[in-house]
């Protein structure tokens, strides 16, 4: 009995000591410092050090990249940066050059505008080009490069060229050629954006990308809805000679049947002084992409 009590007391002491140690350590090191350390930065070294467990090491670095991206994205730190994201993805894809998702998701993480992502479309393109060097027939990488040029660099000519290149690769889907043509002809139009996101939403390869595409399509619908409502507001002003003070004025004047909603069901916001229509700040679709031409 005595020994059990002694053991329990010692166990409690161990837990207490661990708690004290944790407090001391957190006082010494600011939060997040541990995850911001990357001990190995050389892909050549890591590839050799992995011995015959390269795939497993790549998985570990991929999980780390995903956790790092998610953690940084959700961080409320004003000075947050994604400085380790590219090194982590570079290590992952160096150790396992066939890790397709690491190239494709990684490019999205890198390309996404700051603070939602690293805001580095140049690195996103570099990562995908590295993937193309490892697997030259992978049309998905060429398509993704086109996507990065289209969505984040806004170089529609380069985007169209890459879609064309992807279309010429083995097993490329038929929709790539028309997409390339539309991008080259009307790059930056909302129609071509919708076409691009619709194709991505159909892609069964990655559920996460599908969700992204569905979100972007809702944003485009919201932008169409905002344009439509601004036209109705202009019609109201032409007929009544004044801007509406609220949506209720327009409902009473039978311009509207009810409150105009965005695709998430949140009412749109009307600025009575200018007649400008915007998303409500509480809408999940904020922020909308930078201005695109409706057609």
């Amino acid at each position: 009995m005595k020994s059990v009590v002694l053991l329990a007391a010692l166990f409690a002491s161990v837990i207490g000591a661990a708690g004290m140690e944790e407090q001391q350590r957190s006082a010494l090191l600011p939060e997040g410092d541990a995850s911001d350390i990357l001990y190995v930065r050389s892909p050549a070294f890591l590839t050799r050090a992995a011995l015959s467990y390269d795939a497993l090491v790549a998985d570990i670095y991929w999980i780390r990249a995903v956790q790092y991206y998610g953690g940084t994205r959700l961080s409320k730190d004003q000075n947050k940066n994604f400085s380790l994201l590219y090194p982590l993805l570079d290590l992952t894809t160096s150790v396992d050059p066939y890790f397709d998702i690491a190239y494709r998701f990684g490019a999205v993480f890198l390309g996404e505008d700051y603070p939602g992502g690293a805001g580095r479309p140049d690195l996103a393109i570099a990562l995908l080009q590295k993937g193309l060097r490892a697997q030259p027939d992978k049309w998905q990488f060429a398509e993704d490069i086109g996507f990065v040029y289209y969505w984040w660099v806004r170089d529609y000519h380069a985007a169209g060229e890459w879609f064309n290149r992807a279309a010429d690769m083995p097993d490329a889907p038929e929709w790539l050629k028309p997409l390339a043509a539309v991008t080259l002809a009307q790059g930056g139009s909302r129609d071509s954006s919708r076409r691009l996101w619709t194709e991505i939403a159909r892609n069964p390869e990655a559920e996460w990308l599908q969700r992204q595409a569905e979100f972007r399509l809702k944003q485009l619908d919201a932008m169409d809805g905002i344009d439509f409502m601004e036209r109705i507001v202009r019609q109201y002003r032409e007929r009544t000679g004044a801007l509406p003070s609220s949506w209720n004025d327009m409902i009473r004047a039978r311009f509207l049947r009810g409150l105009p909603l965005d695709p998430t069901g949140t009412p749109l916001r009307l600025d009575p002084s200018t007649g400008t229509v915007t998303l409500d700040p509480s809408s999940a679709l904020n922020p909308l992409p930078r201005t695109e031409q409706p057609h």
Binding site: S52, A55, D59, W62, Y98, P204, A206
Partner: protein, 268 residues
């Protein structure tokens, strides 16, 4: 032959008594637990990661058994002096060494076989229930039989590691044997660097020496096709056959060395 079988069966029974096969339970638990956790940790690629982890676990558990039991096989008998009793019976020293080797290989094969069944069982479960969406775009089915090629080569690799561990255990202490076996295993993964080293130096002698080392040190990297099978890259049966043959020839050479050393040892 009968003597070899007797020694081998005894080694196998001893391994079972030592609860070596418990590693299988640990393997299965890790694999099943991981399959649930991975989905929470990463965006997509759960199936790839589970396949990688399973193959790596089969290899790592096997490697630990091969090294840490292999190094004690002969040393333990000498240390406990039971080798005197054994060798006083109609058992030749070569039969003793080969029996020890076959017994451990039997243990390893049993381990790998059960781990493979558990591995395919978990993957079949995932195929049916958990990962139906991801499977649609996976380059290979969850229970792709091509993964057996990687497992066959893992077994040959483990057999070679066992032979090396046994060789060192015929004349060295367990600690040194473990260090040397692990050293050879690690060096065997850098064989391609050794082959290419000659092109980097101007000294013909060094180039010849590294070239010779390339042929002498077992090329363990050749047995690794885990990544290829997981990504459904082609691994020709001819490659598996030639690499297996290479492994078997090397094993024969190392075992011959072990028998020679052990036969010349003086136990007086």
């Amino acid at each position: 032959m009968k003597a070899i079988r007797h020694v081998a069966v005894n080694v196998f029974k001893e391994s079972v008594r030592d609860k070596v096969l418990y590693s299988i339970v640990v393997f299965a638990v890790i694999l099943i637990a991981t399959s649930y956790l991975i989905g929470q940790l990463t965006a997509g690629q759960d199936l790839k990661i589970i396949k990688d982890l399973g193959l790596a676990s089969i290899s790592i558990f096997g490697l630990l058994i091969a090294i840490f039991i292999g190094i004690g096989l002969v040393w333990k008998e000498v240390e406990k002096r039971s080798v005197y009793t054994l060798l006083s019976k109609p058992v030749r020293r070569s039969e003793f060494v080969l029996g020890k080797y076959c017994g451990l290989v039997l243990t390893l094969c049993t381990n790998v076989a059960v781990m493979t069944i558990a591995y395919y069982g978990v993957l079949a479960y995932l195929q049916r229930i958990a990962l139906s969406g991801e499977l649609a775009t996976s380059p290979a089915p969850a229970t792709d039989p091509a993964m057996l090629k990687a497992i066959v080569l893992i077994v040959v690799e483990l057999m070679l590691v066992t032979a090396i561990a046994l060789f060192f255990s015929t004349f060295s202490s367990p600690f040194l044997s473990a260090v040397m076996t692990a050293g050879v295993w690690v060096a065997g993964h850098f064989n391609d660097d050794l082959r290419n080293f000659g092109a980097l130096v101007d000294l013909p002698l060094v180039a010849r020496l590294t070239r010779a080392a390339y042929y002498v040190i077992p090329n363990f990297a050749a047995f690794d096709v885990k990544n290829e099978v997981v990504h459904a890259q082609p691994v020709p049966l001819g490659y598996v056959g030639i690499t297996t043959l290479y492994g078997l020839v090397y094993i024969a050479f190392v075992l011959a060395g072990a028998v020679t050393v052990f036969s010349r040892r003086d136990f007086k």
